[in-house]
């Protein structure tokens, strides 16, 4: 099982991290994401789309975790792991604006 490295985990979870999707990124209801700056497009699965929409609506990590934990059968540790992985992917593809600590 992949575990969080402590420093990485704290970067995401110890603060009320405000994640922000870059403002010109287009996200359709089907989960299709288009970055007009790079011309790259991506497909999200329904949960990915839900998380991105939560981020877009201004929810922080704590709030997103609560929504997902309430709605789906997943334990917090697993969610943390997948959430971190997902955010890393968004960062890698340059879809996020720089994070700030709230």
């Amino acid at each position: 099982m992949v575990k969080f490295n402590c420093s990485s985990k704290s970067a995401i979870t110890s603060f009320k991290v405000m994640l922000k999707i870059r403002k010109n990124i287009a996200i359709s209801d089907s989960g299709f994401v288009f970055d007009p700056m790079s011309g790259e497009s991506f497909s999200l699965n329904p949960i990915g789309l839900e998380i991105i929409q939560l981020i877009k609506n201004g929810n922080n990590f704590k709030e997103i975790t609560k929504v997902i934990l309430d709605k789906y059968q997943v334990d917090e540790e697993t969610l943390d792991r997948y959430f971190y992985d997902f955010i890393s992917t968004l960062k890698q593809f340059n879809l996020l604006e720089s994070t700030s600590h709230g």
């Binding site: 010109n24 288009f34 007009p36 011309g39």
Partner: protein, 346 residues
């Protein structure tokens, strides 16, 4: 507007297509221009010659390498028959001849809208480092060479892989001296000397199609990323981008060089988000119809500029517009081929 007669070259539409057909499509789409299209073909099998819905009449013309006189003689003949208003040469290899003949063509009543000889020479692949320095644009390090021995004298300035480029067309990545030698001979046999050896910049290739009015203004510009690239490095698919840095660089280059006519900037965006200029093609590229579809009919604007009209710069375009190129087996009759190959007209 009265019906115009517009002559164009670049009717080859193969896996390394010429810009002729896409330029014609732009002109055909125009709500301002009403044009009779005269195709200028170099080969009997140039597909554009047989696309009668796009090209009204085609004439064979001699290769630019045959010299200025035979080409001008042929154009005089065509002009007598067709009364050409505007001519749009679409090949790099013929531009020099047309630029040299601009005045003669003008006296005949044929308008062009081409870069000046100075602009044309300055942006040559062999002169790119000087161009970069003069205009403050990042370019990869390069050296023009006339022999592989020549390269050996500059060897310390390069690290493999390097890009081996022909003066007009063709570019190959050479990973060692053997490959460099092979590509040098291959390109030199086809396009002559010098061959340009260029530093290989790692990143994503992005391009801009643009049109300058010759007074420093950008009439239009649309950036694109190739989404599918052929083994010849040509775009087989592409998507328009929303990239202010590419637009800024284009405006800077057009403004500083006072660029006149169509151009294509070939750029590399590195992982550090830096833009390197790797080439300026002094004409509209084969993917120009993407710009038309995205809201900037650059071929139409080019024709209007050639006619001396005042053209307002385009203010916007649609990002995320895509093109997907395809090949198509056009059926034609033997007598058409016969007519073009024996009479030189179709």
């Amino acid at each position: 507007m009265a019906k115009l007669t517009i002559a164009l070259s670049g009717l080859n539409n193969i896996d390394s297509p010429g810009p002729g057909i896409p330029v014609i499509r732009g002109i055909r789409d125009s709500k301002i221009l009403d044009a009779r299209i005269i195709g200028l073909a170099y080969e009997n099998l140039d597909p554009g010659a047989y696309m009668h819905e796009l090209v009204d009449k085609t004439y064979k013309v001699p290769y630019p390498s045959d010299g200025v006189e035979p080409l001008l003689e042929r154009l005089k003949y065509i002009h007598e028959k067709e009364q050409i208003d505007v001519m749009i040469p679409n090949f790099d290899a013929e531009l020099f001849t047309f630029m040299k003949s601009e005045k003669i063509l003008q006296e005949m009543g044929i308008q062009t809208f081409l870069p000046t000889l100075k602009q044309f020479e300055e942006r040559h692949k062999a002169n790119l480092p000087e161009f970069g320095e003069k205009y403050g644009v990042k370019v990869p390090y390069s050296e023009p060479i006339t022999s592989v021995q020549d390269f050996m004298n500059h060897k310390d300035k390069f690290e493999f892989p390097v890009v081996v480029k022909g003066k007009f067309y063709d570019a190959y990545i050479a990973y060692d001296l053997d490959q460099l030698n092979m590509y040098f001979n291959k390109i030199a046999a086809k396009w002559g000397l010098p061959i340009v050896i260029q530093e290989f910049v790692i990143g994503t290739e992005v391009n801009v199609v643009a049109l300058g009015d010759g007074k420093g203004n950008t009439i239009g510009a649309v950036p694109m990323r190739k989404t599918y690239i052929t083994d010849k490095g040509k775009a087989w698919g592409g998507i328009t981008l929303e990239d202010p840095s590419m637009m800024k660089l284009t405006a800077k280059i057009i403004s500083q060089t006072q660029w006149r006519g169509g151009m294509e900037l070939e750029l590399i965006r590195t992982a550090k988000n830096e833009l390197y200029l790797i080439e300026i093609n002094p004409r509209l590229p084969a993917w120009v119809y993407l710009a038309v579809a995205a809201g900037q009919n650059l071929p139409e604007a080019l024709v209007r500029l050639a006619l001396g009209e005042q053209v307002e710069p385009f203010q916007e375009y649609q990002s995320g517009k895509m093109f997907i190129r395809y090949s198509y087996d056009m059926i034609t009759e033997l007598h058409e081929f016969e007519q073009l190959s024996t009479k030189g007209e179709l």
